[in-house]
Amino acid sequence: MRFERMKPFDIVIVGGGGAGLYAAMEAMKTNPSLNIAVLSKVYPNRSHTSAAQGGANAALGNKAKDDTVEMHIFDTIKGSDYLADQDAVDVLCSEAPKIIRELENMGTPWSRMDDNTIAQRPFGGAGRPRCCYCADKTGHTILQTLYEQCLKKGVIFFNEYFALNLSVKGSRSRGLVAINMKTGRLEAFPARTVIFATGGYAKMYWNRSSNAAGNTGDGQAIAYRAGIPMKDMEFVQFHPTGLRKSGLLVTEGARGEGGYLINKNGERFMARYAKEKMELGPRDLVSRSLETEILEGRGFDSPAGKYLHLDLTHLGADLIKSRLPQIREMCMQFEGVDPIEEPIPVRPTAHYSMGGIDTDNFTRTVMSGVYAAGECACVSVHGANRLGGNSLLDILVFGRIAGHTAAEEAGRFEPGNISEAELQLNSDEIRGSMHSSGHYERYGELREELGQTLALNVGIFREASLLKKGMQDIAELRERFKRVRVFDTSDVFNTNLLQVLELRNMLDLAETVAAGAFAREESRGSHTRVDFPVRDDAKWHKHTMATMVKGNVSLGEKPVTMGRYELQERTY
């Protein structure tokens, strides 16, 4: 295998979604003389940001004149079940109006109110309608805008490059090693600073996940293997309304527009769980409610599994066609159901990873010169449960901060240098699974089994014995992975190799999710322990920190930063 060597970069950004592109744009704005590269395993406009339908929260006060940043802050902290760091939430919500307007100024096609300002709608767990949207394609249009602006600014893209490992010397990163998918060659990206913006890890739940096939936690896994701690990994959000067959998502906007959740007795069952907010309760609560309805026998039956109804029929054809056109199309294409005519079959689906690379409010990790932003990071602004409309906001606000911080700080670090020997090591590792005898495990099976054990044992309702089983399964799968086979031995666009490397990342991270869930003996936000059904602030009002020690997970903890808001019981 031949190696390519780049001249050193000031900033290498891994990931071309909302966070990565905003970082690139902001870094160029901060210091135009810097040498910046964006590495992405897909063309940036393919990134999973495009799938975010609902919108982004900001207290613009366009719809509810009395909305304030302070109320947004409180909703977010309460929504997080008080696990979010309050200073970080301050940053998120205070920056929100500015960033939404900045995007608007750059060309994002937001839907409009009657007075021609940016349109807003109600979203789960929010006290005021503050979710800014563009029909049900908000993420798509934001991603397009950012990609367009990056092209305008002349950002250098390395598209279809798969990042493998950080090159670490002592406590410092010297850059990154990646595969160029088009040639199959390993390339070294020596860099003063590296920003991870690779998205979430919820695809480890495989078929029970709404995520893109590539949301495999690549950045987190690379950082984790380099010794950087992961924070709050046990918190995985299940979205209440995934399509029954495919797990694909029906946006919360569908409930924001007035959709009902109905069980097989025809009841709007949310009345049992969130009297006041009903369908617009926070996601963790609504997901648990659906799961409970199913477990207690009030779900509908089908060969594809038990499910409930999301009923939009009373909203009328006009509203559905104008506000939720993509959802309608999706229901027809993937489920064979037209929401104008009949209710949509739904069940909870793994959707978002609250946990991720531990960072401070400036997106710095413990390793100097390494930053992380967006879903792959955990600042933490979402704590134990993210509110709808806060994830797009998170990638924008902290993507921007990451770009700014890295641009300001890049000068402090030496340009990295990555040796030929190190590249060779990376190369040997990959080649081993292609050509060595004794490699026979099929990645498809391992991936399927990982998803199954996670959904079954590390799912919405958790319990010590189940979690133990989950941890055993994951350990076995990691063992079997050592004998995985890459059947395609070609160099050019070896997607088989890519899938195997992604599986490795998911397996490494799955261990941290299960271990964190097992350790946390309480119920908080998305993490529900049947054997510890209440929140235990005395013992567990703290972050879980997972670090890789000798190839396996080791758990630690970190205090939660409090602020103006005292711990309260969380009811809706």
């Binding site: 897909v42 750059m106 563009c134 509908f300 594809a304 997607t495």
Partner: protein, 344 residues
Amino acid sequence: MTVPIDQHIEQKQDVTFRIFRFNPQVDSKPYFDDYTIPVERGITVLRSLNYIKEHIDASISFRAFCQAGICGSCGMRINGLSQLACTTQVWEVLAKSREPGLIRVEPLRNLPLIKDLIVDMDPLVDKMKHYSNWIDSTMPESSMGKKEFLISEEEFLRYDKATDCILCASCVSECSILRANKEYVSPAVLLKSYRMNVDTRDALHGQRLAELVKDHGVWDCTHCYRCQETCVKSIPIMDAIHGIREDAIELRGLKDTSGSKHAEAFMSDIEKKGKLVEATLPIRTNGVFWTIQNLLPMAVKMIMKHRTPPPPPLVKPAKGIKVFRELFREMTEHVKQDHKSHKK
């Protein structure tokens, strides 16, 4: 209340996927491999390809990411039609297939082939850059983030549909102009250009338009409508192309390219005679010099074979020209009014 259980879920059928193969490292030319698998109703082409890759042949290469029809990665030709594999139902393709039980899967056309079903998207990105497919905001960067532009719902609706484009390149693959001329701007890029041009926040309108009317630009389109018929998001791409042309004529007149001059000559003939004066059409479209250089040999051949069109004086106005002119005037007046109200 009871709900019908999907009765059809057990229905299965053997389907042969004839997949285009090409690995540049070993193959001198492409070939097809057949894979036969049982497929239930409700399964998409992408899920079938995933199944084949996982269980039969791991070396088949294709792109796929969101699997939900929004990222645009899995554009490919399925039984000759460019579409997204993830939103295409196998059974629906079979119902229309000429060969029973067979589905051909090939890479998109008009973009360089990399391997199997994967084509190079860079030429498309390069064109997006060339035609400034971005908003160059009228607001200076330093004042951004403070307040929003006020945009009417009506303006939003002008580009709403165009912003649905996911750059899957299905239209690029089906474009008949691109097959002949790889430098042609491409339908997707025209669509994006239009979207930028009608946005009042943009300051680059005139400059973008000046680029679009050059050779390989908006006037090269021949209205075959393949792009619009193909679009996986049902975007009326031809409306965008017409929109750019109308805009160009209004702002720049009919002087830019052979295409616009051709349209002008066409219009003037029809108005005067009710039919074309073919003999001089090339001169009026491309000029005397070009015509002599490019069409003289053909003209000589035509004279030899007595196939020359009549010279202008001999082209008599069509029958009923008076009534026709009246209609013509009425129509052009109508179109003008239409544009005015559209602009508002």
